[in-house]
Subunit: 396 residues, 2 copies
C-alpha cells in the first residue's frame, strides 16, 4: 500500500493479520505510535523516545483486542511528540496530509491515524485523547471519533502522558464501521435506535456555540436540528457556568504538570530533542505552582459535578468539537498558540471530567472545510453515543 | 585527515588554503560552525538553523583574517546548539572526544575547536565566548585559549547569541603558536618579556580559588607561584565583593534574555528542534522579568567598576578558569545543572565586564585531568596577556 500522505511512521511498515472469523474480519486498522506492537519499537513521535527502551514483547491491549476481533494491522501512525500537541505538525516526522482540507493540519496528536482513515488507507485507527487528541483530528478531518469514558478501557501498552486524563480512542469514516469497532473495544453491543434505547433529551451548550467561530456554529446548525429531531427534545444550557476559559485554565494546569511528572526522569537522563513548542510545554509544566494545582483540582471537582448534573441518564449534550476548522500548515507559533488556547476551551471538559464524547462528521464551512459536532453523555454511556451517531447517519 | 574524535561537523570537510607568504603560513586551523565560510551553510550546531537561510557568500572576518595571514582552513567544528551550552554535548552531532580527559566532556560551546586542537588535528581553531565558551574548553582540554576584550574584534559573519557578551576566541596547544595567531587576530605585536613590558602586579582572586574544588586550587598553586615570580609581586584580593554567585546571577539574567531576543523570531517561525536543556534555557530566557534585567544591568556596572578598580595598567588577576576539571560524559541534567551553575560563578565576569582573559594550560589534578589558570588584564591588554603566557612557558 502506498502512503503518499505521510501518515505512517518512517521505515518498514508493520503488518499483522487479524484472527480469522472475528466480527471485524475484513477491516484494516492502524495504530498511533504510542501503542505497543510486539517486536516493533514504540516511537512516541520523538526520535529519542525509543533509545534505551526495550522493544515491546506484547501488543497493547487495544491492538490485541482489534487483532483478536479479526481486524488487520497495516501500520503505525505519526503522532505529535509524546502526544504533546493538538495540531499534528511533527518537526521530526512531518505533517500527515489532511485529504479533507488540503494545505491544512490534520489535527493532533493522533494526526497520522486520523489522516490515514480520512484518506481511506485503513478502515479505522487507534488514537489517544488526553486534551483533545482524538476529538480535534476527528473534527479537522471529518471523521467519527470517540473519546470513551475515562478509565473504561485498559490502557496497557499505551504510552502515557497525563494518566488522569489519558484515554484510548478511534476513528472511522462511516457510522457502521465506527459502531462495529466501538462494539469490540467497548465490549458492549451498540443499541439499535428503537424507542427507549436512544437518549430522550438534548442539551445545546450555548456557551460553547457562542465561543466557536460564527461560521462554524452556523455550519453545525442543520446537524443540531437533526439531532434534536432524533432525540425528540432540546434545550439550551450553559455548559460551563464558571467559564470555558476557567475550565481550560484548570486543564492547562493539571495536564502539563502531570505530563512533566510522566516524562521528567527521561528528560533528566536523556536530554531528548524536541521541537521548541513541545519542550516549552514541558518546561512550563515543570514550573506550575502547587497552589495552582490545588485550585485546578478543586475546579476539576466542580466540572465533574456540573457535567453530572447536566447529564443524567437519557440526556446528551452537544457542542462544536473545535471552535474553527483545521488551520493552515506551517504557521508561526505566535499564530498557533492562541488557536491552541481556544481549542482547549472547547476540549478541557474531557480531560477534567472524563465523560464520553463522540465527534459527528458531516458539516463543512462555506469553504468546504470539515467541522465536527460533538455529543457527550453520562459516564459509561459510550455505546449509546455511538448508537446516536449511527441513527443520525440513518443507518439503523 | 581522519577525524575519529568527532570534532568536525558531519558531511564533506571544507578546506581552503591560506594565502602564501603570510605570518601564519604552514599553520592549519578549524572554525567553529558559528563562523561563516563562503559557499558552506553555517550550521550553528542545530540541524534546523540552516533551513531557509542563504549560504554565506563571504567568509567571516576572523576566517578571512587567518586565511589572509597564510593559515589553511581544514574544517568546521561542532558547537553546542547556537552556542547555548558549556559542556560540549550536542544531542544532534555528538560529543567531540577530549583526548586529554577520555570519557569526559570537552567543554563547550566551542567543543569541536578545542577537541581538534587538543588532538593535534590542527594548530589553532576559532571559537566564540559569551559565557565561557572558549575559557571552559581551554581548561578542560588543557589548551591556551583567549577571550579578547569585548568589542575589540570584528564579529562580522559570526552567529550571534548575546551580543553584549559575545566575543571571538581561539585555541592553541603551545604558547608560540598561540602568540603568532593572537598577533594576527589582535592586529598587534605580542610584546617580548623585557623588563617594563610585562605586568608588574599580580592579584590572586582568593574568592575564586576558595570557590573552586580544593584539588583544583591545589593543582594550580605551582603555576600561581611561577606567575608571581615572573610578574615580581603578588597579593590576595576578593574579586567579587558582591559575591561570585551574585555576579553569576546577573549574567544568568542578562545572557539568556538577550539570547532569547536573538533567536525569538526563528523560534516563532521555525519551531526548531533542540535538546531539552537548550530549549529550556531559551524558555527561561523568555520569562525573565524586566525588573530583574534592570537589576542585572546595574550589577553589570558594578562588576565593570570593580574590575576596572582591580586592574589598572600593569596589573593582572589570576583565578581558576573552571571550578573542576571536565565532568564525565552522559550525566543526567540533574547532575549537570549544578555544575553549569558553578562554572558560571567563575566565568560571569567575562560577559559582564568584557575584560580580556587568557587560559594557561599545564596544570593537572592528581587524576591527570587538565585544569586551567586564567589571567585577566585591563581592557585592551590582550597582547600583554599573551606575552605573559609565552613568558611563563619559557619561550621568550
Amino acid at each position: 500500500m502506498t502512503d503518499d500522505i505521510g501518515a505512517f511512521v518512517p521505515g518498514p511498515r508493520v503488518r499483522i493479520e487479524g484472527r480469522p472469523g472475528g466480527s471485524l474480519q475484513g477491516l484494516t486498522f492502524a495504530a498511533k505510535d504510542l501503542f505497543d506492537v510486539a517486536g516493533v519499537p514504540t516511537g512516541g513521535g520523538n526520535h529519542d523516545w525509543p533509545t534505551g527502551r526495550p522493544v515491546p514483547t506484547r501488543h497493547a491491549w487495544a491492538v490485541q483486542t482489534l487483532l483478536d476481533a479479526g481486524a488487520t494491522l497495516i501500520g503505525k501512525t505519526i503522532t505529535d511528540e509524546v502526544s504533546l500537541g493538538i495540531l499534528g505538525e511533527n518537526a521530526f516526522d512531518g505533517t500527515p496530509v489532511n485529504v479533507r482540507a488540503p494545505g491544512r493540519v490534520p489535527g493532533g496528536s493522533s494526526s497520522g491515524s486520523a489522516a490515514a482513515v480520512a484518506a481511506g488507507l485503513c478502515d479505522t485507527a487507534l488514537g489517544t485523547d488526553t486534551g483533545g487528541s482524538v476529538r480535534v483530528p476527528s473534527s479537522f478531518c471529518g471523521l467519527y471519533g470517540i473519546r470513551p469514558t475515562h478509565g473504561r478501557l485498559d490502557v496497557t501498552g499505551m504510552l502515557p502522558q497525563a494518566p488522569t486524563s489519558d484515554t484510548t480512542g478511534w476513528f472511522a469514516r462511516d457510522a457502521e464501521t465506527f459502531a462495529r469497532v466501538s462494539s469490540v473495544l467497548l465490549g458492549e453491543a451498540i443499541p439499535v435506535a428503537l424507542p427507549g434505547k436512544l437518549p430522550s433529551k438534548l442539551i445545546v451548550a450555548v456557551d460553547a456555540f457562542g465561543f466557536a467561530d460564527a461560521n462554524v456554529a452556523e455550519a453545525l446548525q442543520p446537524m443540531v436540528k437533526r439531532l434534536a429531531a432524533l432525540v425528540g427534545s432540546s434545550r439550551d444550557e450553559v455548559m460551563a457556568p464558571q467559564g470555558l476559559s476557567v475550565w481550560a485554565r484548570a486543564q492547562r494546569t493539571l495536564q502539563p504538570s502531570e505530563a512533566y511528572i510522566t516524562f521528567r526522569d527521561w528528560l533528566d537522563k536523556g536530554n531528548p530533542r524536541f521541537a521548541f513548542s513541545v519542550a516549552k510545554a514541558l518546561v512550563m509544566g515543570s514550573m506550575i505552582a502547587e497552589s495552582d494545582r490545588v485550585w485546578a483540582n478543586l475546579m476539576r471537582q466542580e466540572v465533574r459535578a456540573r457535567m453530572k448534573y447536566l447529564l443524567p441518564a437519557g440526556t446528551i449534550l452537544c457542542l462544536p468539537t473545535t471552535p474553527f476548522p483545521a488551520p493552515l500548515c506551517g504557521q508561526p507559533l505566535s499564530v498557533l498558540d492562541p488557536l491552541r488556547d481556544r481549542i482547549t476551551c472547547l476540549c478541557a471538559h474531557g480531560g477534567l471530567a472524563g465523560f464520553p464524547q463522540v465527534n459527528l462528521p458531516g458539516a463543512t464551512t462555506v469553504d468546504g472545510l470539515p467541522v465536527g459536532l460533538s455529543i457527550i453523555g453520562p459516564r459509561g454511556s459510550d455505546a449509546g453515543l455511538v448508537a446516536v451517531a449511527r441513527a443520525l447517519e440513518g443507518k439503523v
